[in-house]
Amino acid sequence: MPARETLIALRQRFGSAIERADLAGEGRLHLFVERASLGAVCRHLALDLGARFITTIGADDRPYSGRFLVVHNFAFDREHWIASVATQPPADDPRVESICGAVPAAAWAEREMRDLVGIVPEGHRYLKRLVLPDGWPDGVHPLRKDVAWNFSPPGFDEGREFGFGEPPEGCIVVPFGPFHPTLDEPAHFRLYVEGEQVRGCEYRGFMAHRGIEKLAESVMTYNEIPLLAERICGICGCVHSVAYVQAVESAAALQPPPRAEYLRTIMLEIERLQSHLLAVGLACHIVGFDTLFMQCFRIREPVMRVAEEITGNRKTYALCVVGGVRWDIGAALRAKLLGVLERLEAEWRAVADAVGGDRNLRRRTVGVGIAGPALARDTALVGPVARAAGVAIDCRRDHPYGAYARVDFNVVTADGGDAWSRLVVRMTEVFESIRIIRQCLAQMEDGPLGLGIPDELPVGRWGLSSVEAPRGESHHFVITGEGNRPRRWRVRAPTYQNLQGVPAMIKDQQLADMTISLGSIDPCFSCTDRLETVDLRSGAARTWSQPELERLARAAARRLTP
């Protein structure tokens, strides 16, 4: 059902519980409901109408409306629209009904909202800390507007522990992480293992929070944030920068010129190429097949070099500004890029054949780490993980942006739901990306690279953007604000959802399959852990790319340690 018809049906069903509704442009419905009905409306969307949960945004709206703000975003992928269900709990009673009974996928987002904004999801079944470090004092919520960006609270309790559950009968505890050769970034899975079988696990991550959202909301400006956004991730940074500017553009009703849209599409696909080549190589490395890992990296290198020639950097492209792009692809670069693609296609065909024909690789991945359609729905899995389970979702087709509506490509799916299927989906998507880039290069016409924006952007408007990252949907939510910066910017990276499926994927499997199961979602912890404050024990400063952030972290650490 399209957005408009759904709104009419919802009004009939819920009556005055729907306080206000806004069909904000194509494919967006903003729905303000009274607090008591939030759960009922969300349950209806998810269970009766089959909407896919995207994320929850908690915001401190007290300086503007005197209340808090809770928004649950849902996607109607087949109908190409996104619903935001919002409610505003009063300032003195920041509580809402938890929806994670009906929508288990909301489990993390609601915990995060409690940690950072202090809005309590009542009835949540596992309300432990998600984002804040264990020693962080209770009652301090860093994303509230009355907390300064550089505030470090007194009373940090070094000795306080997370409080893991008891292992099941007959199980030993195998700590997986925070440091493990196959985890490129810190995360901790506490595995309950019986013999070689994993019976359960608990997760404690978010050890490398960088306070990116807070920084953006308090000290950066609209056009500085894309540079910060692309540092959310070391692999799919361009995705975040595009998603952010698209969210701002959608909030301010700006339409970037066609050439900018094509260039964004090309760079996103170049990024997907290098990311998928990396992911397939890593999967081979995890099961001990280093030769294919090395070959993947050799083939990947020309892609990195051509990206460097276009943007000046192998990885952080600094491509986007609000309303356009910075870099152009001239005739010489265009020819070079086409040459790289041609060689890549031939070489990747050879790798795909080698992977496809390798019996040992199949033995290690077929039937391993299974995430079927049911799990995909429950935990709202995205990207290759969902597509490998036969769930054909892809933001490039479902919620088109950039130039994707003007090019022809296939949404690659498989039906095994296992690590092997995910590997196959990624390998095949490489060929689709090559096709997309070629079409873009053929269609792209000369024209301006960006809009001139002489005036201030409107204040208090919402912008949503879903971009298909190599690992799945990256969703950005922006509320525009005063002082040339957004009031609220919420990022939900694909690994945030996919990681929530891991406990179910590894349950009752061999311990040896843990690494490839986790590796097959191609996890990206820096994307997931992007939020507030410093974990003193993990020495998170190591992973920070910006010297300013490093200095900030060290200063904070000095203040906190006696």
């Binding site: 195998v174 070689e196 001990g288 097949f289 280093d290 090395m294 050799r298 290690r364 311990l511 690494t515």
Partner: protein
């Protein structure tokens, strides 16, 4: 008697020295070959010597449950493999081949394997113990294969003495050597597992168990384990050649000697090639694989008992 003593006095240190010298060379060559397969340049062949020297020169850090046992395990592992070199022909007949029998050889080989278990148990961390349990499962399935290979030859020659068992005894029957050929196939297919290389590096499995039994080891102790593992590859290759491919060893000094080392080198490079082109097995998959080989070995044993 004096002749035997003299041969032992000269041969034992010679064999040990040869194995110690050649093992890192092989390691370096394997790395180089792996690098070529992987489109890399790879380290210089002599790098393996430098690595060992560097490890030996590092501080001896005590990390793990029982420092004494850990040191003991490292020394024992190294000593076992050195002792093994004197029971194996390396271009010349085994220095102690006349004095020892196949049972001593099997004992020493098993003891060398046990050292890994001991190392893991003494270290006592979760991942070490997981590695130990995998290693134990693999050993239980693997050791009988080697025993059968020796017993088949011993049955044919009606002697357990090493110099009788070596030299192609497995083929030494009146008619077509059925049992010998079956065992050749079995041992060839399980060779990677005996030398603990991919796809059978399950107990160490860097990306899963972070070196398993050896994860708590560093510096000189790690050097001893690594060195022992390199020497073990030479010993196993030499044993394989002695039992299954002895042709030409009788040719005498330079030619027979050269031929022997050529065969061993070929085998070692083959190991590197297989390791570079296979993904690691999971322990249950490996055990199933070994079970098939065990069944074939049992058939070979029955054939040998019947004189085929």
């Amino acid at each position: 008697m004096t002749d035997g003593l003299l041969r032992a006095a000269v041969g034992v240190p010679l064999n040990a020295a040869a194995a110690l010298l050649v093992a890192p060379l092989f390691q370096g060559a394997m790395r180089r070959l792996t690098a070529i397969v992987q489109s890399r340049r790879g380290p210089p062949i002599r790098q393996a010597y430098f690595d060992l020297l560097k490890l030996l020169g590092k501080e001896d850090i005590e990390s793990g449950e029982s420092g004494v046992m850990q040191r003991f395990a490292a020394y024992l592992a190294f000593a076992c493999t050195l002792a093994l070199t004197s029971l194996v022909p390396m271009g010349f007949p085994a220095p102690l081949g006349a004095g020892a029998d196949a049972v001593a050889l099997i004992y020493l080989l098993t003891l060398a394997g046990m050292c890994t278990l001991l190392a893991g148990l003494a270290a006592g961390s979760t991942y070490s113990l997981l590695g130990v349990s995998r290693e134990m499962m693999a050993m239980v399935a693997l050791e009988p294969l080697f025993v059968v290979a020796l017993v088949v030859g011993a049955l044919h020659r009606r002697s357990l003495r090493l110099d009788a068992v070596f030299g192609g005894s497995v083929y030494d029957v009146g008619g077509f050597p059925w049992s010998g050929l079956v065992m050749l196939a079995v041992m060839a297919l399980s060779f990677q597992a005996f030398v603990q290389r991919a796809p059978f590096d399950i107990a160490e499995a860097e990306t899963e168990l972070m070196d398993g039994p050896l994860m708590e080891y560093s510096g000189p102790k790690l050097a001893l384990f690594k060195y022992a593992q390199m020497v073990r590859l030479v010993v196993h290759a030499a044993l394989f050649v002695a039992i299954f491919a002895p042709w030409g060893s009788g040719l005498g000094a330079p030619l027979g000697w050269l031929l022997f080392w050529a065969k061993v080198s070929l085998l070692v490079l083959l190991v590197a090639l297989v390791a570079a082109t296979h993904a690691r097995y999971r322990i249950d998959q490996a055990i199933r694989y070994f079970a098939g080989l065990l069944a074939a070995a049992a058939v070979a044993l029955a054939l040998a008992a019947c004189g085929h």
